[in-house]
């Protein structure tokens, strides 16, 4: 919301900047031309939308030698007749341009946020990695120990199985 208060100091600063461009004044803000120059350093399609939304206000020309001026006149009349329709279209185009621009800005912000978050996560991860590595190492050692225990148990089991097989064979022999 625009304030209804008169911004006295802002007005004084602006006047001093206009009347005495140097003394006691901060660096002047960008002019409209500079602003639009910066705005156009963006996606070409958005730039095209921004410059081309006004389909009413376009130069009317003709390259026909003889009927050139008549063609121009007719085109201008047609444009005038179509003015209400064209105006609606211009407003619609402009709204589209703004929406696309806003979405594009939002997307840009989101991308920036994502990059920042990625960096943050990486940083946090790298800060915590020695601890993690140590934990993983401990885990891995535990797993290795467990695996060797399992191997030992397996070997004992195999021995026991062999012994059982032997006992079973002996028992069979005895029964026969």
């Amino acid at each position: 919301m625009q304030s209804e208060e008169i911004p006295t100091q802002q007005i004084i600063d602006k006047l001093r900047q206009t009347l005495e461009p140097r003394i006691g004044i901060a660096v002047p803000p960008l002019s409209g031309m500079e602003k639009s120059a910066i705005a156009f350093e963006e996606d070409e399609d958005i730039a095209l939308l921004k410059t081309g939304f006004d389909i009413y206000n376009i130069p009317i020309t003709s390259y026909q030698r003889r009927l050139g001026s008549a063609v121009i006149a007719v085109r201008k009349i047609v444009r005038k007749l179509l003015r209400p329709v064209l105006e609606r279209q211009v407003i619609y185009n402009f709204a589209n341009t703004r929406v696309v621009q806003t979405l594009s800005n939002q997307l840009q912000k989101l991308q920036e946020n994502q990059r920042t978050l990625e960096k943050k996560i990486k940083l946090e991860f790298s800060n915590q990695s020695p601890e993690f590595t140590a934990k993983i190492q401990v885990q891995q050692e535990a797993i290795t120990a467990l695996q060797s225990e399992i191997e030992q148990i397996k070997a004992v089991q195999e021995q026991h199985t062999a012994m059982l097989e032997e006992i079973r064979a002996q028992l069979l022999d005895r029964s026969q």
């Binding site: 625009q2 206009t18 006691g24 376009i58």
Partner: protein
């Protein structure tokens, strides 16, 4: 020793506790009776706590605080407070040998023609700082002996062109005779200028080697850049005052010129011309100004040079500031036109106001249409050939497509002749060429295009939040502030009747929605015939002849005109009478629209109705919600059904209607002329004060500026 006269010693301090402390300590060692010393310290608005600390350390020193940071003014303040027969100026970064004062007092006592005297001023390392000052061929001045080894080459007393004011003793009569130190110099070169005046009055200035003082090299100011700035600036002021015919030739030898600091050169010349006008005879002024104008036009544009002289007329009080108010629709009656006409009526005694129109219209027309006194205003009609050739009554800027030349360049050219150019009716293709310009925007009707010039205006004022929003969306611009239109339509209170009033132009495009309002009234009557008994809908508005929209409205009423009245082009008295009698006000502008141009950008008629205790039920769009607080000071509708429902609610409940009538009147006070007047006067007064005043440079700001330059 008690026969020695009282001497005042004036020291100026600015954020310099350490230096000033040393300086005051050196005074305690003076071989001069303490009771004959009148020590004065002037503080130049220090931001540190040096004043407090010095007051504690040196309770016998009289301390005064200057109103601004200005060395010359500080000295004048010191002189005005001094009591001594002799008055010394002493830089706070200087220290005096014990016999400095006594030897100079004796010199002045024995030589009544000598107005001022000073001694040998040495740097801390023993080299010479100054034994007097002298002019160089390029109009700069220098300290005699500066930087030389002290080998006795200046050990002879002599009369000099001027004295360095780091340490100097003046005879009171001399100061009184020559007058005040010129405060426009702020600091540096004021000694040169004063020396010149002393010479002109026949006072001698003497250098005496016996009086020794020491000076810290630029200990009191922020380095050589600050000194350079003031010396260069004040050199022009000095020449304008004392050697005016040299002013033009001094431009090319100025450091500002050789260093391409054209903005600093411009500011300095501006103040120098003021001095020229103040001090020189008309024939000299004429000669110098013509040469200057020729020279400066080569460096700057003609427009900029012309602006100097024009502004100086205001600065000197030779004339009032001039305002041009351009309104391409001034020849029509309209809300926007009333807005600026009211503004002109409020400012006409402080400013010289000229309306610029494109079609014939007289001040008397404006006075009659808007009930204003504009007797001090003038009008200038500038026909635009583009529209004249086509016989057009309406100046439509959207016809000027990018491939066409800008017909509004005529207006731009005219704008050069005024101090302030006000573009009153948002014509976006007029380039402002006046020093100050104000763009009044009631709605940004167009888009940025080839001739778009709104970025070049100094200020922009919007009439509603709705306009502010669209200014941002369409032009990416933010107004300086918001100024709601003034509305003054209250009439004598009469008994309210069963009238629903709708006021709005029968505009060809049907933006005011009279047809929809008629249909709503029919629907209301159809649904609630008994409760609507006696109620009338009165549609008031202006119309052009052969208006197809009006014809449609009339045809609609032919089918069913019961309780509906049309008042086309009614006079003001009749409109006022209807406002006074009506109970409810309807306004449908914006209903069913998507184009923001077809919304009410503010809604003056709604406020007019409210001032007459007429409860508004208006479309919830454009500027209307800024006026009507839904359910508190009227109602906002989004559909015709809502309009009917809210109207029915009031119609069947007379107590509620009466309660709302009081509330809406209260709310409408916010939009009265008094509020508008206060803001308009305040805004233009700020402009007037800044424009009519030449601000003296504040050394602190200059030092900051120099720092910024260094960083670049």
């Amino acid at each position: 020793m008690t026969t020695l006269p009282i001497c005042s010693i004036i020291i100026v301090n600015y954020n310099g506790f350490r230096q000033t402390k040393d300086c005051l300590k050196s005074l305690q060692k003076l071989a001069y009776p303490e009771q004959q010393l009148d020590l004065i310290l002037i503080d130049n608005c220090s931001q540190d706590d040096s004043v407090k600390c010095l007051r504690e350390l040196f309770p016998k020193v009289r301390i005064f605080v200057n109103s601004v940071n200005n060395f010359a003014k500080a000295l004048n303040l010191g002189i005005s407070q001094s009591t001594g027969k002799y008055i010394a100026f002493l830089n706070n970064d200087a220290t005096l040998d014990s016999r400095w004062l006594e030897s100079l007092v004796k010199l002045l006592e024995t030589n009544p023609k000598v107005g001022a005297a000073s001694g040998k001023l040495l740097f801390k390392d023993g080299r010479i700082n100054s034994v007097g000052i002298q002019q160089l061929p390029n109009f700069y001045w220098q300290d005699v002996g500066f930087g030389e080894k002290d080998a006795g080459q200046y050990d002879r007393e002599r009369t000099v062109e001027g004295l360095c004011w780091a340490t100097v003793l003046f005879r009171r009569e001399c100061l009184a005779d020559v007058g005040e130190i010129d405060e426009d110099f702020v600091m540096y070169f004021e000694d040169v200028e004063f020396a010149k005046r002393c010479q002109k009055r026949g006072w001698e200035m003497v250098y005496s080697p016996a009086a020794i003082a020491h000076h810290e090299y630029r200990g009191s100011s922020r380095g050589s850049k600050l000194t350079e700035y003031f010396c260069n600036r004040n050199r022009f002021l000095y020449l304008a005052k004392h050697e005016p015919l040299q002013l033009v030739s001094a431009i090319h030898t100025s450091d500002f010129f050789t260093n391409k600091q054209y903005d600093l050169l411009f500011e300095s010349i501006f103040v120098a011309i003021k001095k020229l006008l103040e001090y020189q005879k008309p024939e000299i002024v004429e000669t110098v100004l013509s040469q200057l104008s020729e020279k400066l036009t080569v460096i700057y544009s003609r427009v900029k040079v012309d602006r100097i002289l024009s502004r100086l007329q205001v600065v000197r009080g030779d004339r009032q500031m001039s305002i041009a108010i351009y309104d391409h629709g001034l020849h029509f009656i309209g809300g926007g036109q009333k807005y600026v006409a009211t503004m002109a009526s409020l400012l006409q005694n402080q400013f010289d106001i000229t309306f610029i129109a494109n079609k014939p219209v007289a001040i008397s027309d404006l006075e009659a249409w808007y009930g204003l006194n504009l007797s001090e205003c003038k009008i200038k009609v500038i026909p635009l050939q583009f529209y004249e050739k086509r016989g057009m009554q309406c100046i439509d800027s959207s016809m000027i497509t990018d491939d066409l030349e800008n017909p509004f360049d005529e207006i731009a050219k005219e704008s050069k002749n005024y101090d302030i150019f006000v573009n009153a009716n948002q014509l976006e293709k007029v380039q402002p060429l006046s020093p100050i310009s104000v763009f009044f925007c009631h709605f940004p009707n167009t888009f940025r295009n080839r001739h778009f010039a709104v970025d070049d205006y100094t200020f922009m004022i919007a009439n509603s939040q709705f306009t502010v929003k669209w200014l941002d969306k369409r032009w990416n611009l933010k107004p300086t502030f918001l100024l709601y239109p003034p509305v003054e339509m209250a009439t004598a209170e009469v008994k309210k009747e069963k009238i629903i009033l709708a006021v709005g132009q029968f505009e060809a495009g049907g933006t005011k929605k009279q047809i929809e309002l008629i249909k709503a009234f029919h629907s209301l009557r159809g649904n609630y015939p008994e409760q609507l008994e006696g109620w009338r809908l009165v549609l008031v508005g202006s119309s052009v002849p052969r208006n197809p929209y009006l014809k449609t409205v009339q045809n609609l009423l032919k089918q069913d005109a019961r309780a509906i009245e049309l008042k086309v082009n009614a006079d003001l008295d009749e409109v006022k009478s209807l406002y006074a009698k009506a109970s409810i006000f309807w306004h449908g502008c914006g209903l069913g629209e998507v184009n923001p141009q077809r919304f009410e950008h503010f809604g003056m008629a709604t406020v007019e109705a409210m001032q007459n205790r007429c409860v508004p039920i208006v479309f919830n769009g454009g500027g209307q919600p800024e006026i009507v607080e839904n359910g508190r000071s009227g109602f906002l509708f989004n559909t015709v059904e809502e309009l009917c429902q809210q109207s029915h609610q009031l119609i069947v409940n007379p107590d509620l209607l009466a309660e709302f009538q009081g509330l809406v009147e209260q709310r409408s006070q916010y939009f009265r002329v008094a509020h508008f007047e206060e803001k308009v006067k305040h805004f233009f007064e700020i402009i007037r004060q800044e424009y009519a005043t030449i601000r003296l440079p504040n050394p602190a700001d200059v030092a900051q500026m120099v720092d910024v330059d260094r960083d670049r």
